[in-house]
């Protein structure tokens, strides 16, 4: 497999990278872990004239916790998240999501920022980012700006990232006490992308009533979406099986479900409901623990 020829740039810092982006514009693609872009280039479905490799830019990877959020550098690999003790103690659902992405070799190279910027409709991270209410920190010629996850995914492989910007960091808020989160996925038998993946995060008060819920659905449509109907049906309720079941019924509402070899619209919509139920059930269990 030989991709079309391109020029390679390995900037030493963010400023240099932004400079290259500004100069090369449309002809350039950012190379992070490469596990989405390089396969497309090998098949010549993508033929960028320039690649700007962020691999040698310091400061773009690593996980830092402050009181409110985990700040994850965009170049942090899935494995780094999967194996991070900070993640496991503060927001273990992220390790759970990371552990079911692709395969171990893919997780060693693939990055959270690359995944979120590429916005593959069947990627796993988007569901979790939506459920947890993450913010994307973008850097551009005019400095940094934050984009909430609900403004991030615009459509099929389209995000709010601007032409001259790069995604530098992902900030994932920590869950308050009494919370639980879970990711449940129906994997594609070949690619292991999510045919449907649902991430649910719930916060319960002392009486067991849900005070906050975040539910993200990936895989089924052209982009990952927030299952607003499900969230609304959870909040204010004691989350017994009947309440969860009823809420999960709304999981496919607002998803532009796409039929393909893995399933009809009917089946995938059904899977959204099944996996919403499973993820919420598990999240509630974890919240109680």
């Amino acid at each position: 497999m030989y991709p079309a020829a391109f020029d390679y740039h390995a900037p030493k810092n963010v400023k240099e990278a932004l400079g290259l982006l500004g100069k090369l514009k449309d002809d350039a693609k950012i190379l992070a872990g490469g596990h989405s872009l390089i396969p497309m280039m090998k098949l010549r479905l993508a033929q960028p004239k320039h690649l700007i490799d962020l691999g040698k830019v310091p400061g773009l990877s690593g996980i830092k916790a402050d009181g409110k959020a985990l700040a994850i550098g965009a170049m942090t690999t899935h494995w780094e998240i999967e194996s991070s003790s900070a993640v496991k103690s503060k927001l273990p659902v992220l390790a759970e999501v990371a552990s079911v992405i692709g395969d171990p070799a893919v997780r060693n190279k693939g990055t959270i920022g690359g995944s979120l910027a590429h916005a593959d409709p069947a990627a796993d991270w988007p569901a979790a980012m939506i459920a947890l209410g993450a913010e994307m920190v973008c850097e551009g010629p005019k400095g940094k700006r934050k984009v909430g996850v609900d403004q991030w995914f615009l459509g099929l492989m389209a995000t709010a990232l601007k032409e001259r910007e790069l995604l530098a960091q992902v900030r994932v808020p920590l869950l308050p006490a009494g919370s639980g989160a879970a990711y449940m996925k129906f994997p594609h038998p070949a690619s292991r992308f999510a045919v449907v993946g649902v991430c649910a995060a719930v916060t319960l008060d002392k009486q067991g009533v849900c005070t906050k819920a975040g539910v993200g659905v990936t895989g089924a449509g052209t982009k990952a979406v927030r299952a607003k109907g499900v969230e609304a049906a959870l909040v204010g309720k004691r989350l017994d099986p009947a309440a969860i079941e009823a809420a999960a019924q709304k999981a496919a509402d607002g998803v532009d479900v796409q039929a393909d070899l893995q399933g009809s619209v009917e089946y995938k919509s059904h899977l959204c409901r099944v996996f919403a139920k499973r993820a919420i059930t598990e999240a509630v269990k974890r919240a109680g623990a």
């Binding site: 020829a5 396969p39 090998k42 395969d103 893919v106 060693n108």
Partner: protein, 158 residues
């Protein structure tokens, strides 16, 4: 445009000028001449090209050689030391973990990382960690056995 790359492969320093589009696997096979690393697919599924870069199992077909500039790489040819097979290689031999041998180098290096991370893996863990490596001959049964054999023998050595 050709760019210089330098890396250490199986303890040997190598340096060449390469086109940026040259995939690391082709660099290793065609330029360096180590043909134990194989290419079985175009889409990062099969794992036949799995190598270790700075200790991590990576699919060499999904990386450009220029990205690996400065890296330390182990391929299947570099796993046996002083003519002595690594316990994982030995395990594949003892337990008949291979038939045609094409996926084997990638399987062995995937197992290498697996046993570093999970020295006493359960059968389920082994199977989950092999998600990125396809074998069409063995039905995986004896690959699982081979990795279990290796885990036991590596534990004995430590």
């Amino acid at each position: 445009m050709k760019l210089p790359v330098k890396m250490t492969i199986n303890g040997q320093k190598v340096s060449h000028e390469v086109e940026p589009r040259l995939l690391l696997v082709h660099y290793i096979r065609e330029v360096v001449g180590l043909t134990g690393t194989h290419v079985g697919c175009d889409t990062s599924q099969c794992g036949a090209c799995t190598i270790l870069i700075d200790g991590q199992a990576v699919k060499a077909c999904t990386l450009f050689a220029v990205q690996a500039d400065g890296a330390t790489i182990t391929t299947i040819e570099g796993l046996a030391k002083n003519g002595e097979l690594h316990p994982i290689q030995q395990g594949f031999w003892e337990k008949h973990g291979l038939q045609c041998g094409f996926c084997t180098p990638g399987m062995i290096l995937a197992a290498y990382q697996m046993l570093e991370r999970y020295p006493k893996p359960t059968e389920d863990q082994i199977r989950h960690q092999l998600e990125g490596n396809l074998c069409r001959c063995t039905g995986y049964h004896n690959i699982v056995k081979a990795i279990q054999w290796a885990a036991e023998h590596m534990a004995g050595k430590k």
